[in-house]
């Protein structure tokens, strides 16, 4: 089935795609936004820790298989794997995320200049600086809605405008964390949150739901692209959102430009949509899959892949930290937690490349707490039950969002033989986190232990960084941007080298991923890219 020609196509209605689609639409471009999932609405049934642990909108794994190549003693073994936390709905992860809305620091865009060449990594500078992105961070903060106060964070890069909403007041646990940090000479400050501390954008303020991370907000006070930019785009009359569609191919014309995409609708009917501009914003695993699936005479190894960089440098964050229990109750489970953080260790740590922000964790319920135990504690029986009874209100853990070292072997590829439900080659994942990440994790776990000790924990244990492939939450880096087409996939605006109307609009373009949650940066890059496209189109 053919459709009326559009000015622009955006594939994926997440943090990046939602922003780009809205910006194009309100600037007069007839835009079609494709999303494989549907709208998620709050309903009491999904307000349930067990169901949430299985995913708010579980993906059909039979239709969307993936494999992981594992290195074993017997060589490489191919095993089935899940999709991590990639979203499957309008707004993607911005519907049920923790909503931390960080700006990266200056150094995060200049990792190679700051730390020099780091062997066996692909550490590089971004082609843009913090200052290039600053106006778009501001736009994202105001249009999406962020509550914060950067005045106590001396490490934050300068900003021109304040946050649109005041920071959230911290809790007793936040005070405990902050006081301990201050005694250690550190600089705690409120975590910037894409959540309403006061009524904003005609929606109510946060009600401190007990579990926020992984939840759809019951009062719509958490801000993602689903309740901000996407509805604005639709209101403009220029945005056609097509949900439950699976895009399977970028169609290339004889002139070397993208002419549209092929997709399947809910009833498995194949469609073709043509457009002048195609933006792929399908996540750092799905975007490279789409590029690699399409080949032409000029790009025999996949679009933008003549130098083999598509799908490479897959990274996220090597989370680690420490956990502890206290001799008395330290919180009363007022949600959502994670109100305070420090950025003292994000950079300039001796012997460490980069570092991490540290915050105390979001709250969770009885089910997840049943898995939080010191390594020496039994995992069942009376002792396990007693720990659960005694420590639910006496426990916290510190999370370090460790900046990963990009490496060429950590990657997304398309499977040679296996196909998904729609006949598209499936995603294969290979490679592991860089060994340096674990050195950095050790360093950050040490820092976390110091803070917990200072805070008065009577039992502390380390939570080490996890090995393996990083294609989970915060995935990034697989179509990195750069000025040199031989060592990058897109230019500084996300335009694929050599195809001037094909763009990548998600975290795939991140050269490095900082020591912070990436959603605000993805959004800011979306605003910047859209401005570039609009100017070019006129």
């Amino acid at each position: 089935m053919k459709h009326k020609h559009a000015d622009a196509i955006v594939v994926g209605a997440g943090a990046g795609g939602g922003v780009v689609a809205k910006e194009l639409a309100v600037n007069g471009l007839q835009t079609v936004l494709f999303e494989r999932g549907g709208w998620v609405k709050y309903d009491g049934k999904i307000h349930d820790e067990l169901l949430k642990s299985r995913g708010v909108l579980p993906i059909d794994r039979k239709k969307n298989p993936r494999v992981l190549i594992k290195e074993t003693e017997d060589g490489e073994v191919e095993v089935p794997t899940g999709i991590g936390h990639t979203g499957y709905n309008v707004g993607s992860g911005t519907v049920n995320y923790g909503a931390m809305a960080w700006r990266f620091m200056r150094e995060d865009f200049k990792m190679k200049s700051t730390y020099g060449e780091v062997k066996t990594t692909t550490l590089a500078d971004w082609p843009i600086s913090y200052d290039d992105l600053e106006p778009y961070y501001e736009k994202a903060e105001w249009e999406i809605g962020v509550a914060g106060d950067a005045s106590n964070n001396p490490f934050a890069a300068p900003r021109k405008k304040e946050y649109p909403m005041p920071a959230f007041k911290t809790s007793e646990l936040g005070e405990l964390f902050s006081d301990a940090c201050k005694r250690l000479g550190l600089h705690p400050f409120p975590v910037p949150m894409a959540r309403n501390s006061v009524p904003y954008n005609n929606r109510s303020s946060c009600i401190q739901n007990r579990i926020c991370l992984t939840s759809v907000c019951p009062v719509d006070a958490k801000n993602g692209t689903h309740n901000t930019v996407i509805p604005v785009g639709i209101e403009s009359g220029n945005l056609d959102l097509r949900i439950h569609t699976q895009v399977t191919k970028v169609v290339m014309g004889d002139n070397g430009k993208a002419i549209g995409i092929k997709y399947y609708d809910k009833n498995d009917l194949e469609h073709f949509q043509s457009a002048d501009i195609v933006v792929i914003a399908a996540s750092a695993t799905e975007t490279p899959r789409l590029l690699l699936t399409t080949t032409t005479a000029k790009f025999p190894n996949g679009l933008g892949n003549n130098y083999g960089w598509v799908g490479r440098n897959l990274q996220s964050h090597a989370y680690c930290g420490a956990a502890g229990t206290f001799p008395k109750d330290i919180h009363s489970w007022n949600g959502p937690g994670a109100t305070m953080a420090i950025a003292d260790y994000n950079h300039h740590n001796e012997g460490i490349v980069g570092g991490a922000s540290i915050h105390y964790d979001f709250h969770f319920g009885p089910l997840r707490f049943a898995k939080r135990r010191p390594p020496w504690e039994p995992t069942w029986g009376l002792t396990h039950k007693e720990f659960q009874r005694e420590n639910f209100y006496r426990y916290t853990n510190l999370r370090c969002c460790v900046q990963e070292m990009p490496n060429f072997n950590s990657r997304v590829f398309i499977h040679k033989t296996k196909k998904d439900y729609w006949g598209m080659p499936i995603v294969g994942l290979a490679g592991e986190r860089h060994p340096l990440d674990f050195k950095h994790c050790d360093f950050m776990s040490d820092r976390s232990e110091e803070i917990l000790k200072e805070a008065g924990a009577n039992r502390i244990w380390r939570v080490p960084g996890k090995k393996g492939n990083p294609a989970m939450v915060h995935q990034a880096g697989t179509c990195r941007m750069g000025d040199d087409p031989t060592t990058s996939v897109t230019n500084r605006y996300g335009q694929v080298h050599g195809i001037d109307n094909l763009y990548v609009g998600d975290a795939s373009t991140h050269v490095t991923n900082s020591g912070f949650n990436p959603s605000l940066t993805i959004m800011a890059l979306g605003f910047r890219m859209a401005e570039h496209i609009v100017e070019k189109f006129k």
């Binding site: 009491g44 067990l50 299985r54 739901n209 579990i211 009885p366 039950k385």
Partner: protein, 193 residues
């Protein structure tokens, strides 16, 4: 009616969609001892025989005893009181369908091990002896000859995970009867999280 009003909890009198052939065999064997006349009321009696969707009555006794080991009663209720068995039984029909074989073979293998080592069924052994057996099962140290059709370590971890889920999740799912685990943890209503 549960607080969500979404699904009524019904355990008895609902024809099982996965009426298992082993259960059928066990039933026929049992009723044959009572008399041929009973077979006429087959389906009705079957419902009374096992109120579970998946487990036979004997299997359920074993599972209940294992769950009680994972979360024992002390001054506060344990897995048996919380009816964790109902959670596992229900989920085995749906999201854990793929574990049905592991449970069926795992229970049989554990019982065979118990008979060989102790001469009794697992659920009839003293609490401490059950604990010792499960510690061995967790470490895959029960006699290998009984475990040809199921991996004992995997069976232990699966039932451990399911017990914890049933006990600490919402009663909507079948376990945690009367919110016993939430009360134990001093969690106050509303239980929306």
């Amino acid at each position: 009616m549960n607080p969500w009003g979404s699904e009524k909890l019904v355990f008895c009198g609902v024809p099982s969609s996965n009426f298992h052939s082993m259960e059928r065999r066990a039933f026929i064997k049992n009723t044959a001892l009572i008399g041929g006349g009973m077979l006429a009321t087959y389906s009705c009696t079957e419902r009374e025989t096992s109120s579970y969707y998946f487990f036979t009555v004997t299997e359920a006794s074993c599972v209940i005893a294992i769950c009680e080991q994972i979360i024992p009663a002390d001054k506060e209720p344990g897995a048996t009181d919380a009816e964790v068995i109902n959670y596992i039984d229900r989920e085995l029909r749906h999201i854990y369908k793929q574990h049905q074989k592991l449970y069926r073979n795992g229970i049989a293998a554990l019982q065979a091990s118990c008979k060989q080592l102790k001469g009794e069924l697992f659920e009839d052994l003293p609490f401490d002896e059950q604990t010792a057996l499960l510690i061995d099962m967790e470490k895959s140290k029960l006699p290998k000859t009984n475990w040809r059709d199921a991996k004992q370590g995997a069976f232990f971890q699966t039932i451990r995970k399911h017990t914890i889920e049933g006990f600490y999740s919402n009663p909507q799912h079948g376990g945690n009867k009367d919110h016993v685990s939430f009360e134990m943890m001093r969690i106050e209503p509303p239980y929306l999280f």
